[in-house]
C-alpha cells in the first residue's frame, strides 16, 4: 500500500516456512550441519579457485588480491581491523537502535492516526530510495564532521524504513477474533495494547529489525567515505585502496563482512525466539 511496505518483508527469507518443510524427527545437530557445511564447502572451493587463478594467470595484486595475500594482511593488521570494526559496529548499533525506536514510535502513531499514516507515505517512500552517498555530505554539514553523529544518523535512517514498515504492518495485523475477545473482556485500550496489539506486532518488528541490521552496517560504513573521524572500516578501505594496497583493503572488507554477519545472525536469532510460538 505504501511505497515499499511488503517489499522488505516478502523478499526476506521466512524462517517459519523453512521450518515447516522439515520432517518431524530432524535433529538440531543434523540440521546445523546441513545448514553450515554446504556454504563452507562452497567457500573453500571459491577461495582455492581464486587463489589458483590469481597464481596461475599471474594476475597482479592491483587487479585482484589473492586470498593468501589478503589473509597475510588480515593477520598483520588484525588489531587495526578489529579496532575499525568496533568503531563502525558501534555506529551501526547505535544507529540501529535509534532507527528502530523512531520506527516503532512513528508506526504506533501512524497506526492510531490515519492522517499521519497518509502523510508519512511519501516521506517513507522517499527515504527508502534516497542514496546514502547523496545524504552524507549534507548531514556532515548539519551535524559536524568531527563526531560520529552524522554516521549514526545515516545508519538510523537506513534502519528506520524497514522497522517502521514492518511494525506498522504488525500493528495492523491483530486478528479480529483477538479484538473481539478483548472487547468481550471489557478490556481498557491500555490493556488491549499490552495484551494483544504489542505481542501481535512483535514478530513483525523483529523481522524489520533483521532487515534493518544489514542496512545499518553497510550504511554506517559507506557514510565514512565522505567525511568524519578517520577510524572506521570505510575510511580504512578507501585509504588502502587509494594506495593500491588492495590486499589490505580486502582485509578490512572481511571485517565488514563479519560485522554484517554478526548483526544478521543476532537479529535472526532474536526474531526466531520472538516468533517461536506462532
Amino acid at each position: 500500500m505504501t511505497g515499499l511496505p511488503d517489499a522488505a518483508i516478502a523478499t526476506q527469507l521466512a524462517p517459519p516456512a523453512e521450518r515447516r518443510r522439515r520432517g518431524p524427527g530432524d535433529r538440531p545437530l543434523r540440521r546445523f550441519i546441513g545448514l553450515v557445511v554446504p556454504p563452507i564447502v562452497l567457500f573453500i572451493v571459491l577461495v582455492l579457485l581464486v587463489e589458483l587463478v590469481v597464481v596461475a594467470a599471474g594476475i597482479p595484486p592491483f587487479v585482484l588480491a589473492s586470498p593468501s595475500a589478503i589473509w597475510g594482511q588480515l593477520v598483520q593488521y588484525a588489531p587495526q581491523v578489529l579496532q575499525a570494526t568496533l568503531v563502525t559496529g558501534l555506529n551501526a548499533l547505535i544507529g540501529l537502535v535509534i532507527g528502530a525506536v523512531i520506527g516503532v514510535l512513528l508506526a504506533i502513531v501512524a497506526s492510531f492516526i490515519r492522517a499521519i499514516d497518509g502523510m508519512l507515505v511519501p516521506i517513507v517512500a522517499a527515504v527508502a530510495v534516497v542514496p546514502i552517498v547523496a545524504l552524507a555530505p549534507v548531514l556532515y554539514t548539519m551535524f559536524g564532521s568531527t563526531s560520529e553523529v552524522a554516521r549514526i544518523i545515516i545508519a538510523s535512517i537506513a534502519a528506520f524504513v524497514p522497522v517502521f514498515l514492518n511494525t506498522l504492518r504488525g500493528l495492523r495485523q491483530v486478528r479480529p477474533v483477538h479484538r473481539d475477545l478483548m472487547r468481550s473482556y471489557a478490556a481498557t485500550p491500555r490493556q488491549e495494547t499490552r495484551a494483544v496489539t504489542i505481542p501481535s506486532a512483535l514478530p513483525h518488528f523483529f523481522t524489520g529489525l533483521r532487515i534493518a541490521s544489514s542496512l545499518a552496517v553497510i550504511s554506517a560504513l559507506v557514510a565514512e567515505y565522505f567525511g568524519g573521524p578517520r577510524q572506521g572500516l570505510g575510511s580504512a578501505i578507501t585509504t588502502a585502496a587509494a594506495s593500491s594496497a588492495y590486499a589490505r583493503a580486502w582485509a578490512f572488507v572481511i571485517g565488514a563482512i563479519l560485522l554484517g554477519l554478526v548483526f544478521f545472525a543476532l537479529t535472526t536469532v532474536i526474531e526466531r525466539i520472538a516468533s517461536r510460538h506462532r
Binding site: 486478528r175 477474533v177 473481539d180 475477545l181 468481550s184 471489557a186 494483544v196 505481542p199 506462532r278
Partner: protein, 291 residues
C-alpha cells in the same frame, strides 16, 4: 411472517417484562442493518424475539449468512442493534459485558500464541485484577475440567485443534459465567474430534449449570447438545422455528444417545424445519450459494 412469535417450550415463560433477571437472555424486536460502502444496506437481522432461560442450552442453526453470528455478537455487545432491545440477566448487553456476565468462544480458538495454555486461560482473570494465587488455583481447576492438566505449560502451537478448542472453552469459563456464548466452536474440527468435544461440552455444562447460546451449522450437533434448537433463515435474517429437543439430562447423555431413535427423530425434525417438510432433492440442492 418474519416475526413468528417464538413458542418457548420450557414452562412458565409468558411474555414477561424484559428486565426479568431470571432469564439469561431476552431479545426483543431486534434488527441489525449493515450499511455498505456506497450506502447499500444489508439487513442481517430483523424482528428477532428470543428468550434463553437460565441454565438452558439453545442452539442457533441456519444456512450461511442468516445472521447467527450477528445475533450472537449483539448479545455479547460486540456489535449494536439498529433497533430493539437486548437484556442479559436483566441488564443491558453493554452492562453485562462490562460485568463479565458471559464467557465467549469462537470458531477459531483465538488463543494468544505467545501465551502458554495456563496463561491463556488466566487472561480474563488477569485483566480483571484477580490475584496471582487465586488465578493459579482457578487455572488448575479449569485445565482439570477440560482434561489438559498435563498441557498447562504447553503453547497453543503445540496442541491439536481439538485441544486448542478445549483451552478456549476453559478460558470462556474462567470467570464462572452464568451464560456461555459459542460461535461454531467445533466448526474447524474433524468429525470424530468434534463428537468427543460435544460430549465434553455437555459434561462441562452439566457441571457448571450455565446457560448456553450455541451457533452451529450441524443438525446432529444441535440436536445432540441442545434443549432447544432455534432455526433461522436468511435474507433478511429471522427466526423461523424453534424446536424442543431435550433428549435427557445433559450429564447423562452419552455417546450411545447418537444411536437412539429420539436422536434421529430430533434430527429429522430440525432437518424438516430447515429444508421444509419434503426433503428437497437434487434440483433444489443445486441452488447457487454465493458468499
Amino acid at each position: 411472517m418474519s416475526t413468528s412469535a417464538p413458542q418457548p417450550s420450557a414452562a412458565a415463560t409468558g411474555p414477561t417484562p424484559p428486565a426479568d433477571a431470571t432469564e439469561a437472555v431476552v431479545v426483543r424486536g431486534v434488527e441489525r442493518v449493515f450499511t455498505g460502502a456506497k450506502g447499500a444496506t444489508v439487513t442481517a437481522l430483523t424482528g428477532i424475539e428470543l428468550t434463553v432461560h437460565d441454565g438452558e442450552f439453545v442452539s442457533l442453526i441456519g444456512p450461511s449468512g442468516c445472521g447467527k453470528s450477528t445475533l450472537l455478537r449483539l448479545i455479547a455487545d460486540l456489535d449494536e442493534p439498529t433497533a430493539g432491545d437486548i437484556r442479559v440477566f436483566g441488564r443491558t448487553a453493554r452492562q453485562a459485558r462490562i460485568d463479565q456476565a458471559y464467557g465467549i468462544a469462537f470458531q477459531q480458538a483465538g488463543l494468544l500464541p505467545w501465551r502458554s495454555v495456563a496463561a491463556n486461560i488466566e487472561l480474563p482473570l488477569q485483566l480483571h485484577g484477580v490475584g496471582a494465587s487465586a488465578r493459579r488455583a482457578r487455572v488448575a481447576e479449569l485445565v482439570e475440567l477440560v482434561g489438559l492438566s498435563d498441557f498447562a505449560k504447553h503453547y497453543p502451537d503445540q496442541l491439536s485443534g481439538g485441544m486448542q478448542q478445549r483451552v478456549a472453552i476453559a478460558r470462556s469459563l474462567a470467570e464462572s459465567p452464568r451464560l456461555l456464548l459459542m460461535d461454531e466452536p467445533f466448526g474447524a474440527l474433524d468429525e470424530m474430534t468434534r463428537e468427543r468435544m460435544q460430549t465434553e461440552l455437555l459434561r462441562i455444562r452439566a457441571e457448571t449449570g450455565a446457560a448456553v447460546v450455541f451457533v452451529t451449522h450441524s443438525i446432529p450437533e444441535a440436536v445432540y447438545l441442545s434443549d432447544r434448537v432455534v432455526v433461522m433463515s436468511p435474507r433478511p435474517g429471522r427466526i423461523t422455528d424453534e424446536i424442543d429437543v431435550r433428549l435427557g439430562e445433559a450429564a447423562e447423555r452419552g455417546e450411545d444417545l447418537r444411536e437412539d431413535t429420539a436422536f434421529f427423530e430430533g434430527v429429522t425434525a430440525v432437518r424438516e424445519a430447515l429444508h421444509g417438510p419434503q426433503a428437497s432433492s437434487a434440483g433444489a440442492a443445486r441452488g447457487v450459494d454465493v458468499r
